[in-house]
Amino acid sequence: MTTPVARRPQLSPDELQQLKWLLGGLLTLLGVGTVLYMDIDAWVLTGLTVAATLATLLRPELPGRVPRWVHALAFPAIAAFFAGDLWLKMELLPAMVRLDILLLIYRNLSYRQRRDDLQIIVLGLFLVIVAGVLTVSLTFAGHLLVYTACSLAMLLVITLGDAAQVGKPEPAQPIRETPSWARHTDWRRLLRRLQEVTDWRVVGLGAALFAGVVGVSALLFLAIPRFQIENSMFLDRFITKKAKSGFTDVIRFGDVSEIQLDTSIALSVDVSDQSQIPVTPYWRMLVLDDYSNGTFRLSGGLRAQFGSERTNSFQTGQARPRLGEKAVWTFYLESGVSRYLPLLGHFDMLRFRESQNYRFAGALALVSLREEPVSMTAYRVEGFDLTTLLPDPVFAERWRRRHEPDQKPVGLQTRLILRDSDHGVLRRTVSEITGGESPGAAEFARRAGEWLRRQHSYSLTPAIPGGDGDPLIRWLVSREAGHCELHAGSFVLLARAAGFAARVVTGFRGGSWNGYSNNFTIRNSEAHAWAEIFDERAGGWLRVDPLAPVVATTGEEPRGEAAVAARLDRSWAARFDSLRVFWYRRIVNFDQRSQAETLKAVKEATQNTGRRLRVALEGAVDNLKVWLTSPWDEVRLVRVAAFVIGVGALGWFLKSVGPGWWRLRLRGFGHRRDDPVRREAGRWLSRLANGEAAEEEAGVIADLQRVRFGARPTWPEPARVFQRAHQALRSRRRRAVSRTGSGSG
């Protein structure tokens, strides 16, 4: 038995139960909220859970009306659902997620005991972690923090509610019986009660401690030793990968346009040397060379160049190593973009964060992962060859020997499977472009590009004229506007008709330079298609973008600060995007190397700070020496003595008066100021102070002053005093009105 003596009210056991129920519902909603960005087919279950949770939150008496047979059949039904789900779809992780959601539904349809509340926390945490691992998104960080805060609050409420039950088994809640706390739940009233019982200083302390938890977890994250046991377990292996949109090796007209409508981030790129940044970077992902019926495909010949699948964490490229330090490009490719990695061309070395299954086409400078990654994929590339020409000595050799009898033309990327009439149209168009001459590849590219831009404007909503024949040729000879893919495809047809090897390349063009996090941000709307034409003289593939003026043939693009300045983005969106990059750089991509770098940076910062402090201290000591050894005259002595006396007096004052004053401020003034009754009395006093006070008001004013400043036990009844003050004010107004009336009369 206890006899509590409390100044503030306390929540009753029923109110604690209501709070626990509310937090349990909130945790359920937070848990199933992860399905929104987890890309798992559980929308129906999620909707049901949200509906059930909201319903039981609004009407906590509902679980008491659930029939008994539902409780009896719940767990067998859930187990059967899980087994059937697993058997039918053969996907472990999605089945587990759906099982988790089902359990959450049931936990919200029945009154929970202590272990059930703990189960809700664990089930929700499972969903949050799975979502985090699968998506590696910044949303996860926020979600985890909110979830942790709510879980801790829930555990706190459980501890407080069960304090009286320690060591005793919890009584079971009878089925179809509504507990007392659920019968008359009024959430507004509960919130008011929470306000009453809450000491905001304690809440502030709690918030500070939670911020401390975040800080400590950040420190632990940095300090936890990193070593990798071979990654034999990873959640994304238990789920079938699905790309949300983007690039495949078979695309049709319109595919690129669909991507362009999406302004979400597709790729973030860190560059170690800003001077290497080209003005207009082209992020190559896929080469399409086989054309028929208005569709570009990756031909079998090029597909064969990808070779067999490799499992490694690094890949050596075909770029020649250059003198000096290599620029390092770190790519963060968002999930759902493509399994083809965006690259700027040939490279020296490509490194993954962890071992990957991939195929590499050296001559094409393309890398294809085995599966579509459902989470962000990070990789680092060193030594990009940033020229507009993609050297291809093997193809050059084959091109040189193309007229030899044993050479197959299929792999030469010159094939045009068209009707004769279409061939005729193309020939006429080429003649118009070349004027009967035989220009080199670069010159042809320039002329063809100009011709296309003259004939067709740019539009995201192209119209292809009807009629017979190849749709792309129909568009080519029309004056209709078109998007990048139509321009690039038409160029390839023209080049092939003119006898050049050409192909379509898809990827991204450009991007903005985030002024806060200093990185490239490329959005899905910057997806692009362009062409590459084989330049026999240069021995490589020349990039041709019919929608942009042709750049110098084999020369290097302008780079550096000018390129950055042209693409600088310091908008609010960029500020938010910088958070995402911070998340990728410092959290997701944090590895042993980063850990060593961080520790090194901390060590250097500590040493530098110590050095600076030492220098400052030595300087101060030297100054003191100089000051002490300088001649002492009377004025100086008086000044020093005055200063010493002043400091002493201040110290004495603070020591003797300060603590008392501070205590008085904390206990007395603060409480008085915060007391609503005293505040109200103060308001009435200030109202009555305006104007002339009548004799009969003296008593009211004295009472108000007592309520405002006096000790609480000496107070008269405040409500009565305020009523009298109100009457006094009214009678004073009445007097003023009658006086004015008599004066005017």
């Binding site: 306390q10 407080l160 000491d199 938890v213 400590v216 977890s217 994250f221 990654n231 962890e354 991509n589």
Partner: protein, 420 residues
């Protein structure tokens, strides 16, 4: 039943009374200076009674941390590393909050005597918080009460060579003799506030009882760890024998005491009989100052009470006479009940055990001394049956003998006066 006063039992507190009687983290005891080595040593070798044990949620959290840590190292996933860091940070927060919760809390034991066998007694623990703005939640208090009478001839023995069954039996016997209770702190202890926790105890045996606040426990804040702080706070109390119902028998002739003899409660009714010398314990109001000044000897007035027939109780505890323990316990309860009833009626003159000199019973204090004595009396092997000064009077002396195998009979001067 009379309402008897009792002095407060001694609380084993070296500091004595006042502010220093408080113990606990916020007690007045001088705090040791914090050292890191002390902290590490406290973790390696905790203080007596201090325990930290994981609860079911704590075990789940630890298992979860292990699982996530294994997965993190297995997959090198920083998402899992950051989750692991957050879980570990939560454990640290739990420790900090638990420390904050107990910091500044102090307590002291208070007993509400008298304690009687079979009657509820209240053991109160006063709690006070010295915190400025951090309240204290979710504490519970483990109390224990065990007999404090040391069995003669018993000493500590090693259990290394003992049989397991014997050790278990000995432990079970010790536990059976012990009363335990757990009382939670309902609600919150506000900063600067105080509250009182009460443990209702029903003693089962008479004798000296040692009441101990074994530990103060808490699951606060998140219930991951169960923290017990051993306090070592004890209080001694004497448990008086249980009152029993008995049957009175009419005594044929109870001798009226001769004039000049002292009565049980001097100063109550009747005429002034005489003056006599002051004896320690006499009321100061009865001092006859004029006569005392004249004779230069402290003299008190002596009255004749209406019920002047007083009894002397002579208790023989000879083990040969009382071979059965339960009958002996009945005897003690019977004597205690009779003593109280006679005192209430002003008829108790003297009391004596075996050959000890008789003790006059005039005030409540004397009766309490007698009940304390009865609380701890044991059968004596070779009790001397000569009752000291009682033999001089040999009038209205109440003695006790077994009545059959269970009962007890009280005789007054050879006549049956009461039985149970």
């Amino acid at each position: 039943m009379v309402s008897l006063l009792h002095r407060a039992p001694d609380v084993d507190d070296p500091g004595g009374q006042g502010d220093e009687a408080w113990s606990g983290p916020g007690g007045a005891a001088r705090k040791e200076r914090f050292t890191w080595s002390g902290l590490v040593w406290a973790l390696v070798y905790p203080q007596r009674g201090h325990r930290i044990l994981p609860t079911v949620p704590g075990v789940v959290l630890i298992a979860l941390s292990f699982g996530i840590g294994t997965a993190a190292y297995n997959s090198s996933s920083n998402i899992l590393f950051i989750t692991l860091s957050l879980l570990l940070a939560c454990l640290i927060l739990s420790g900090v909050l638990s420390w904050l919760n107990l910091r500044g809390v102090r307590w002291r034991l208070r007993l509400a005597p008298p304690l009687r066998v079979g009657h509820d007694a209240i053991v109160a623990l006063e709690l006070r918080s010295r915190n400025r703005f951090v309240p204290t939640y979710g504490l519970w208090f483990e109390f224990a009460a065990r007999p404090a009478d040391a069995e003669p001839g018993l000493r500590a023995e090693s259990t290394l060579t003992a049989k397991g069954a014997e050790v278990r039996a000995a432990l079970a016997q010790a536990e059976a003799a012990e009363l335990r209770g757990r009382v939670p702190l309902a609600g919150r202890l506000d900063p600067g506030g105080e509250t009182r926790v009460e443990w209702v105890l029903r003693p089962e045996r008479r004798g000296n009882l040692r009441i101990e606040l074994v530990s103060v426990g808490s699951l606060f804040p998140f219930g991951f760890l169960r923290k017990d702080i051993g306090t070592g706070l004890t209080a001694n109390a004497v448990v008086w024998p249980a009152p029993v119902e008995y049957r009175r028998h009419g005594v044929a002739a109870v001798r009226r005491l001769a004039g000049g003899e002292r009565v049980a409660r001097a100063g109550h009714g009747g005429d002034l009989l005489a003056l006599r010398r002051y004896i320690s314990g006499d009321s100061h109001r009865l001092i006859h100052w004029k006569a005392s000044a004249r004779t230069r000897t402290l003299l008190v007035r002596q009255f004749a009470a209406e019920s002047a027939e007083g009894y002397a109780i002579w208790l023989l505890t000879d083990a040969g006479l009382w071979p059965k323990p339960e009958q002996f316990e009945l005897l003690i309860s019977f004597v205690a009940t009779l003593s109280e009833d006679l005192f209430r009626g002003g008829q108790l003159r003297d009391v004596a055990i075996n050959a000890e000199p008789p003790m006059p019973v005039r005030r409540v204090h004397d009766l309490e001394w007698w009940l304390n004595k009865l609380a701890t009396v044991r059968p004596a092997e070779h009790a001397d049956r000569i009752p000291g000064e009682l033999t001089v009077a040999r009038q209205n002396v109440m003695t006790f003998v077994p009545d059959g195998v269970r009962g007890v009979v009280a005789y007054v001067d050879g006549q049956k006066a009461a039985s149970v």
